[in-house]
Point group: D3
Chain length 249, copies 6
């Protein structure tokens, strides 16, 4: 039995990454994952937050937002509310943390990378699309710096997996699937197949260790496909990723 | 002598309006004016603010925002600052007021149109592009309502004019021109050539009545061109604009 | 046919400017325009905002507020709401911009003028009364500085004009007139008759070029009268305004 | 030895109360105590806060603010800071509580009195001047209601007393005296000589019971004088104060 | 090699749960896990948030806070900052979500359980101690309701696991261990050994699937021990947990 | 006739002060006064606020908060509201001011003492219990500094007194008494019997000078008892309090 959008349980939605989407940022990409569309940009600032000053290390921080009509009904802007909501904070902390796991902050030097992920259209998986796109925007921005050693140590991509009542374990949930899934898990992994972040939640439900393993298998496969696309759009820059790891041995 | 982007003083930048740009909103358009790109959406809410309740009239309100990297250097998000800045407020009040001037709010009935203008890329003229695009998104959303009489009474578009040291009076300033202009004026006009809003400012400078007249001539011509494009993209909907005005006579 | 307060269409309300109204500020005036009363003060601070530091230039910034019972029904304080509203921001940005147009910021030197306009009683035209009064308070404060060249380059005053259903084009609208006018325009002009700012708005209505010209004629005449009063209250200080303009030729 | 402004230790500054100072509020007074000037207004709202609804009782609440240049150096507006400070909150709570002590809230009926005290010019004693003036504005507003029984049960006024190094116990401290006093006490009392509120503070100092008694004697005498002025300005309304107290026996 | 506090890698810190710690709340417990101390309270409110009204279902929401000196250096209060930080929001969302997974919200009926977790002293693991304690406070509060069916479907406890450079996989990290761990994972599980939430993060590091499995083994064992303690302190209430699950079959 | 909790009018509730209650702060105490429980901590920061920098003097500042369920019904957290309420501000200003009256800030040197009073359980008198406990926490923290002269000049404690309809003047009101008292007074006094702060309020009532004297007598006696307990728990540190006062003579 196929899913509502005709996909097989282990099938990603169509993914595109449109690089240099904007003229101003040092790195930018419009990532689309099915109907989900996110503009990811990377900005280089030549200084670090106070807690890092003078240590010779860089920093990566992320912000995430949705346009009011990215969703089916209009969301009030967080600027109008006067505060950033809990969900937004969770997501932007996740994006920053994930990217920092594949960047050697000392090689980056005393500068900050600001990552902005703005969801233009949402259909599930906006946080994982943001991470996958942000990795590309970030790598492009870093590629414009003249650095002795390339600080990006590995590829990084993210996807969601979940357990649906009808289809069991499925990969890359769209909004309709996500809102009815019993278990929802976000996975962030590297090109080497290591975990960076794994967040699984029973939605007023629970899951067993066997189900967990099934979800992890699905996710690993999906992330490999995403990284293959990243390699393609990054072109020659892709070959610099991880280059310093080997030379250090 | 031509302008930095090779235009003549009375020449608009290339303009496109990409309608139904997003899947969720009742009306949406991506308007580009040169390098300036704004996503305009219109949302219909079936109720009105408290001050209008029970009067049988509708309301139109607008919000405006820029992505952090819409501009050359990154702007802090207003949601992170915890408040909407003065410039943003001025612009969103202007957009709402301008649109209300060409909509018969009684024919609209007790509903609110939420207009969102999100600047994806900025190169001058974002507020006037927002108005021109918002008119299209709004008209498309209204077209989906089943109303006895069409509430949009006339076309509406906006542009900027200004006085530059080198070129004198010029039409549709890009960012480089805008930031060095001595006088800056935004014009909002209808299809019938009436003024809706006119805001002229000497930037640490002043201007004479003769200069004002020269600016108004330029602006009127530019707005006619913009309205011609609106007519084209609105297709059959364009013919409903103002239809009720005549039948009321 | 005369207006509700017996005025002719081209007649200002009675205007008084009570200088040195408060003991603490460097410059202060209580301006009354009919029943509208505004306390305008000017404060000199011996430093400039960050974006101007080290450039040898000064700055002028304005804040505007209304007492809760300046109006017929009580307005909640913006301090209690926790934020400054859009209308207030628009007005304070306008006041600051207008004053900067007639001050040579380099002659002012690296200092900031804080202009505060507090509306004690409102009956229409509070923003234009604020500008007219603020010019006087500012000039008095600058007069206390020992400067080689006087930085005020010209007089500056403001008034409103509008189109009423009953009287056509009228000057200096009171609250009752303002709230029913079809078109409302604020004009800020110099002693030399140049425009500094011109903001015309159709209130859910539009206006033609001919009507615009009629409004500008009315406004110019009204502003001349206001500047005559400013000259009188400023006494000998009035003669220093613009003195450096000629010597530079 | 006389005080800096030539007063004797037990002498109030000159006091005036200018009633009906503004046209819009139900009650208004400009009170001056020496160089301290406060506009006090009273607004009647025909409903009560949620916690009182349906109990047949009224409420009195107060707000207090200073113009930025009421003081010698400019204070940032609380609306710009985005929050009301601790000192302001303390004062407005005090004003409301004090007024409620001399109003029979059941006779007032289900309505709220909003008291606004806006300090135009400050020279010490702004909170006590606010209470003394607010009593007058409130009584005038209540006088405009058509009530079976007059709800104001007694007069109410306030003053400050303190201990100075040079003069010992003194009455009605101006700013210079207040900022150097070792002990500072605010007294709110009724026409019958009862205490409503008494707040004494050693300013990084302490005081004995004997000193306390001396301060209370001074304060009582000062408050009698203030109430005499209130009686005069309230005219025939003064005779209604407390009228229902006797008839209830 | 033993850990800094002499524990074995798979050893929990000493745990106590002091029930009815406060007199006012419907349920309260002081949980201590080593030096970490959290006061957990449960409040019953007889209504639900707007989005649930009229559906016959209840809701559970949580708030989390630290005293300023719960930690080694003083943290500024979030009330003084004027906003709740991202970390706090993440934790309180986690606590609420976890508890909802073991409560049948329909059996709870239209009421809200407010869970408050206030960290009195912090030494690592405050979020997991909060969940473990909150489950007890919540169950006690629910025990006071007279409900036909007991809505708590299973036990729920949480702990942390991590990978340290020196000791490899370890259970229940204290602050010193947590701040140097390469991988940090929080686990929330039920009495039946099902996962409710699993959040693993490489701290500027990554982890393999084998390491993940090792961590899950450790965590499962620790959570069993915590649930044994919960059973003991809950006494007869413990026997009602899950009772309705069986009767429904 | 005895009070609801069997006390005589002049009797304090049972008082305990549990010192070194927490491991992290420089000074900490859990004070209980009947059912009222407050955690008081003192933190030493080696710098002073901007207004004191470079003057060789220290500063003491206090923050006060209640857990949401310290009271009978749950209070919304001030961090969730986004602002600190008026009552909280009043109390924390009072605590700081009172402590500064018995500390020689010059002897303290250029450092700040942060006092945190967190009410775990409330049953009336939380602000006075906070002051009495804060004095102990502060003295313990100061005792850890190596200072030439001990800066604490005298003991300091606080209690409440009031007038109840049934019992007349009473000492140390619990919540039930406090909420029905006609007059409520907080007293802060030193070991030498001097007043530091005295705040008396008629709660929609007034009081005479004779009643004031009766209240002061009760309060003085209660404060002596509290100071006796402080002496006991402070042990040898108690003997250093005021030591420098005599040597200076």
């Amino acid at each position: 039995m196929t899913r509502i959008d005709e996909r097989k349980p282990d099938q990603l939605r169509p993914v595109t990454m449109d690089i240099d989407y904007l003229i101003h940022p040092e790195g930018s990409v419009l990532i689309t994952v099915g109907q989900t569309k996110v503009i990811c940009t990377a900005t280089i600032e030549e200084r670090v937050p106070g807690f890092l000053r003078g240590q010779g290390k860089g920093w990566i921080t992320a912000e995430y937002s949705m346009l009011p009509r990215a969703t089916n009904s209009r969301n009030m802007r967080e600027s109008s509310r006067g505060k950033v909501g809990g969900r937004t904070m969770e997501i932007q902390r996740l994006i920053g943390r994930a990217l920092r796991a594949v960047v050697d902050l000392e090689k980056l030097g005393e500068r900050t990378l600001w990552i902005d992920c703005d969801v233009i259209q949402a259909d599930g998986g906006t946080r994982t699309a943001s991470i996958t796109g942000a990795f590309v925007a970030m790598t492009m921005a870093i590629g414009k710096l003249e650095l002795a050693a390339f600080p990006v140590t590995d590829f990084l991509a993210a996807t969601s997996v979940g357990i649906s009542h009808e289809h069991g374990a499925i990969l890359d949930l769209n909004y309709a699937e996500d809102s009815t899934a019993e278990v929802d898990m976000n996975l962030v992994m590297t090109g080497a197949g290591q975990f960076v972040e794994l967040q699984g939640t029973g939605e007023e439900a629970t899951f067993s260790r066997a189900q967990l393993n099934e979800l992890l298998d699905l996710g690993e496969a999906g992330i490999s496909e995403l990284i293959a696309i990243q390699k393609e759009v990054l072109g020659t820059l892709a070959s610099r990723i991880g280059e310093e790891v080997s030379s250090e041995l």
